[in-house]
């Protein structure tokens, strides 16, 4: 386990673990309300924040871009939520403007700054997990704790809002506040995951573990647990693999996640058959046991 002797790899693995937990934890709510691509949109908008960070504070490459990206991503996600409320019919066009504007703005600002080279841009787009510093770790841990507290602590309320918003309103839940909370939490998760998988692949880690888990699960609780387990599994193995084989961490993680998805999809059909057999078998067991103990009664009934 020589991989664990390097401080930068320890940090990378912990960061990967944290992202593996938080991305599916918030992603499940986005998938539940059929907004799987919201994470992608936030990622696009966050790029403008990264560019802005480079332009304003080109001396300190990390502290600037990440915090400004977090701020801009939150602003973008809140804007998306407002468009969803008020946008009505032209809402999706407004969202498209926001996404592409965010992307273009990021590339433009990055090129205007001195530090923002194309190489730098690509570490944000595709992730660069081994460059995570000790200060980054503090920020990542604090933000991730926040994300986890919200997604687990408010799971019953968020479940209700994402399952049926109109119904949730009639239970008296503060639906708009909870929607904003989901948006902000998703934005924070995007910036936490940015270094690990990159802005272009963040959404994949929010959606694919959930999609894989729901192939074989029947309940929300199990889907949640399984998605987080898959998230941890693919981020940690993906990061370790990228160390040994020298491939980009983000791409490795996402490809692993897709492999798990394919595996679970293949497992789904036999598993469903087994469950059906188990259910039928249980019924058989009842009717077969009865004649054993009370054969005459059973004969009479038939």
């Amino acid at each position: 386990m020589e991989i664990l002797t390097y401080a930068f790899m320890q940090r990378a693995l912990i960061a990967a673990l944290i992202v593996g937990i938080t991305a599916p934890a918030i992603g499940i709510y986005l998938v539940q309300r059929r907004q799987s691509l919201m994470g992608d949109g936030i990622g696009h908008v966050a790029l403008t924040g990264v560019g802005l960070g480079f332009l304003i504070n080109s001396s300190s490459a990390w502290a600037g871009p990440v915090w400004i990206a977090t701020f801009v991503a939150i602003a973008g996600s809140v804007a998306m939520e407002l468009i969803r409320w008020y946008g009505k019919t032209r809402g999706d066009l407004a969202l498209a403007m926001l996404f592409y504007g965010g992307m273009a703005g990021g590339v433009m600002l990055m090129n205007l700054s001195d530090a923002g080279s194309n190489a730098n841009l690509s570490t944000y787009l595709f992730g660069s997990i081994t460059t995570v510093s000790a200060q980054d770790m503090t920020a990542i841990c604090v933000l991730a704790a926040l994300v986890l507290a919200i997604t687990v602590g408010l799971r019953r309320q968020l479940f209700a809002v994402c399952q049926d918003e109109e119904f949730a309103r009639v239970t008296g839940l503060p639906v708009r506040l909870l929607n904003l909370l989901i948006a902000v939490t998703a934005a924070v998760t995007v910036t936490v995951a940015m270094r690990v998988v990159g802005l272009l692949l963040v959404s994949a880690l929010m959606v694919i573990p959930v999609a894989a888990a729901q192939q074989i699960s029947r309940s929300f609780a199990v889907t949640f647990a399984l998605a987080v387990a898959i998230g941890i599994g693919v981020t940690v193995t993906g990061t370790a693999t990228s160390y040994y084989v020298d491939v980009p961490s983000g791409a490795t993680i996402v490809l692993f996640a897709i492999a798990v998805f394919v595996l679970f999809t293949l497992l789904a059909a036999p598993l469903a058959r087994k469950r059906a057999r188990a259910a039928a078998g249980g019924a058989d067991g009842c009717t077969l046991e009865v004649p054993g103990s009370r054969a005459p009664a059973d004969d009479v009934r038939v």
Binding site: I28, V31, Q32, R33, R34, S36, K88, T89, R156, Q157, F159, A160, C162, Q163, D164, E166, F167, A168, R169, V170, T171, G172, L173, V210, Q214, S217, R218, S219, F220, A221, T223
Partner: protein
Amino acid sequence: MEETSPPRSDHPVIALRGATASLGSRPVLRGVDLTVRAGEVVALLGANGSGKSTAVRSVIGQVPLTGGDLTLFGTPLRRFKEWHRVGYVPQRTTAAGGVPATVREIVTSGRLARSRFGLPRRADREAVHHALELVGMADRAKDSATALSGGQHQRVLIARALAVEPELLIMDEPMAGVDLASQEVLASALREQVARGTTVLLVLHELGPLEPLIDRAVVLRDGCVVHDGPPPEAVGQHALPGHDHVHPHADDTAPATLGTGLLS
């Protein structure tokens, strides 16, 4: 000196007066008066697009009123906080969302009106189980909602509304796309609620098996109330005011009834 046996307040449960509402720029409610008193079962009838759902959704505050006023249990909607007194069944064809959820998980979310941010207690679990029994879905509690038939989806939606043990039950087309067997189950569940004194406002396309339960019918046409009184005697729309000639019952499905524009 108390003469009335049930402790019933003087306020109507729902009082909607002169309500106007628009969707987009289109006026959908054009001065709707709707009063539902405690213990009443009121059916809201009307053609597709006549504004039934909009009326119901304005009652629960989902569609803002542009004019008129609304009180629930005597409290103006703006100040109304006692949502645990209201059960709502929205117009849906499915109870499922984008992620698998069991029947019990969905019905449990109906209890949030009582235990909003607290932990679920035993009373909550029992209420959920009871609601599932009422609609005959207790044996499917652990199944995924995606594995249900149309009628079963509707039963789950109703159980979710019943889980809160509401005093007022608002249902938007609970019988749409429901097979006859499920309709009977739902009718008996509703009968039990009404017997317990629950006030009911329900949007219906036709009275169907619920007919004997209904005290009063309100008919909408183009966002206006065109009838408020005893439910039409004949099946469906035939005896509604505004209809030129009464068809025999057997003519129930005849397209000729489209002429009324009431229940097309």
